[in-house]
Subunit: 444 residues, 2 copies
């Protein structure tokens, strides 16, 4: 007998079906036993006699039964299969589950984060955790589809780099045969090389940062969504692409993931017709006027500044996202392009949303001689950048790009408190699946 | 003046356009100079006077000129813009390229592989190398699309693993804060965990093998296309999915990449109505009968056996791909499922194509107790598999899956001689972008 998927039951009233799935919950009502049966397509209610009462959550079962229409007053409008129930006739336990260490049946999974992660393979099965992963899948896929529609080519960047080029302290060394290489902190150099090949490129990959402390916003390994494009007229072209990508992500989330957003009681951020773009110094001035906090001489925005300027953007422009441009050159990497009209400031931007950085980007140097100077100025050796420098030596157009953090966006869209909740198996200084050492301080 | 893309010129006869791109080649004919101008959409011929004669390959230029219809006899049918040419009026060099170390103008790039890789950022720009990357992009994307259409959820596996679980010798250690973790040899354990979450899952990621020798078929870092599915009736269900994915990859390549396949003078492999499935012992018997080579007691197929059985499949079944099933349990990892009817052999398979392995897969154990036994039997500690074992402890259906190597398939479809040619920036024991040490023996 062919398997019927749970979602198909709603159209099979009166038919006998064979279902396979996990027991989600069991409720005993005297002689009648109700279970919620879950498969990849949804949940359906099964009614049976005492033989169902042996079942417990996460048991893997096969059930043969009759699809019945529910009485009008018992219809569950919150369930796609809420108009039917299965009258169980045969039960086969395919695989018995151990007793769960905590209750998984509630709408929320009320566990401390360390417990949530200690039992990750189990807690991932809770609908609210599944929802996080489904939302993230859409974010990544929309990023891809949006860029493909804008003529970008996808490539696969290596995660191994030959030298520690961007700040040696926060990089992980790899014992590579009889030498050392490093885990890449971003595919930055590779995507710039690829502009010389396909002009417009993007990649979805892993990036690694040996973050020296535990925060709610940082992971040691994260999913980076990176794009780069040539023949730009100005760095506004790049922000235009970022904006288009973000709008398409939101649109796809609303199309494909409204159920998951509803589980978290959230909506995608509100955007105005155009996301505001203001200079960092202007932002500091606005913050000073609004709060009296004077950070106008600081070379960067503090976390509290980022939150305040997001509030301003929402109140004054009706946009929960805002571009901050023209960060000081001193705070940006060697490949950053200075504003010709004000060379202490860069043609770079961050996209902030709901108080946190979502994306960073900007125009890059594209002239070979300027690269040699920039690399020497930072005290590095051009020899270490040999493959990278080739791309500029042999003709590179004006170019720039951006990177989005998939976990950050997931976190901010769903309103999660800790970026670890937005990572399938989060890696940090204390954990790679299992706890590496006794935690000094729990993630807050 | 707005930029016109090269491919748009064919429909703009009589119009003045502004083009941007790279000089691909230059030909001087007395007072007339011809250049091929390349952008992300194609190549178009530009005619001008002496001022174009300063240009060289890879210079980045902006050209304003008039789109002219070519005389009938000068039409180039091999070029999408072959019906037009651009009469240059203004030229601006956006970025000058250094003189190339070798000629890039020919149809083929005739370089030894080490030179090809030493200048990778430049050689990637050659149309034949670009073609490899375009073909690979389609292979990866078709894999994704095919599985999505079969109800699989995409997830992002971590590339860091806490313990060296599958053969310690060939694994790269990572210096991770004050401890050690490892680069994952495959997302195997994670995709199995994810069957408990979404039932059908796939991931596109990097896998790492510290291959102890240099061969034409192995990379230290490669792109793995991994899928896993629950509630299978038999391991034939998995092969059915592999076959569907492969057919859709071929179909998409023929739809989207016929130009690239033509550059290599190849077609996608011929398939019969159903890809043959034969047991390893049967394959050895066939090889013995065809060649007299008696490997019937060997626990695995030799490379020459793989080539011979592919020849047999093509000749006898009209299929350039063939599934080999039932490898001995002794040659397969601990999670492999034994054939109940013949427990020395496993419900596993390899997909061979054109003489080389394309995919490997099979049914897995799904019972917690059986896992404990299998792990102990291999001399490992269940404690090291804590997160993994949770997935089985709390209910896992009968399941299995497969993995495809993106570079292997790219190599075999295009008929490349070395898998390094199918990798953007290949990593092996001698090279991570740059040569790590003086090569002992060049890749053959």
């Amino acid at each position: 007998m062919e398997r019927t998927l749970v979602k198909e039951t709603a159209t099979k009233i009166g038919e006998k079906v064979r279902l396979e799935g996990w027991v989600s919950t069991r409720r005993d009502h005297g002689k009648l036993v109700f279970i919620d049966l879950k498969d990849r397509t949804g949940i359906v209610q099964v009614i049976g006699d005492q033989k169902l009462s042996e079942l417990r959550a996460q048991d893997v079962v096969e059930i043969i039964g009759l699809v019945q229409k529910r009485p009008e007053k018992l219809i569950n409008p919150n369930l796609a299969t809420g108009t039917v129930e299965i009258q169980a006739e045969e039960l086969k336990v395919l695989e018995k589950a151990a007793e769960l260490p905590f209750d998984m049946g509630g709408k929320d999974l009320k566990l401390e984060l360390p417990t949530m992660l200690d039992y990750r393979s189990l807690t991932l099965r809770h609908p609210k955790i599944q929802a996080v992963l489904k939302v993230q899948e859409t974010i990544i896929d929309s990023f891809r589809q949006s860029l493909k529609s804008q003529d970008f080519t996808e490539f696969q960047a290596s995660a191994l780099v030959p030298v520690a080029t961007e700040g040696g302290a926060q990089i992980f060394p790899v014992e590579y045969y009889d030498t050392k290489v490093y885990l890449g902190q971003s595919p930055q150099l590779y995507k710039q090389i690829m502009v010389g090949v396909f002009e417009r490129v993007f990649t979805v990959g892993k990036a690694y940062r040996a973050e020296p402390s535990v925060t709610t916003r940082h992971l040691s390994e994260y999913i980076t969504l990176d794009a780069e494009m040539g023949f730009i007229d100005s760095f506004h072209d790049i922000m235009d692409v970022v904006e288009k990508v973000i709008r398409e992500i939101f649109s796809d989330l609303n199309k494909s993931n409204s159920a998951q957003l509803a589980l978290y009681g959230v909506t995608t951020p509100v955007l105005s017709a155009k996301i505001p773009r203001i200079k960092m110094r202007e932002a500091q001035e606005i913050i000073f006027k609004r709060t009296g906090r004077d950070n106008r001489q600081e070379p960067d925005l503090e976390p509290e500044d980022e939150r305040e300027i997001c509030r301003w953007s929402k109140e004054e422009h009706g946009s929960e996202l805002v571009f901050i441009t023209h960060y000081p050159m001193s705070k940006r990497p060697f490949y950053t392009y200075a504003d010709p009209e004000d060379p202490e400031y860069s043609m770079s931007f961050d996209l902030l949303g709901r108080g946190l950085e979502w994306a960073t980007g900007g125009r890059r140097l594209n002239d070979y001689q300027q690269y040699l100077e920039a690399i020497n100025k930072k005290g590095n050796s051009p020899k270490d950048f040999e493959i990278y420098l080739q791309a500029f030596k042999y003709g590179m157009p004006p170019e720039g790009g951006f990177a989005l953090g998939a976990e950050r966006i997931t976190m901010q869209v769903l309103g999660l408190e800790n970026v670890r909740e937005a990572s399938l198996f989060p890696r940090d200084m204390e954990r790679v699946d299992i706890r590496l050492t006794k935690p000094q301080n729990e993630p807050k």
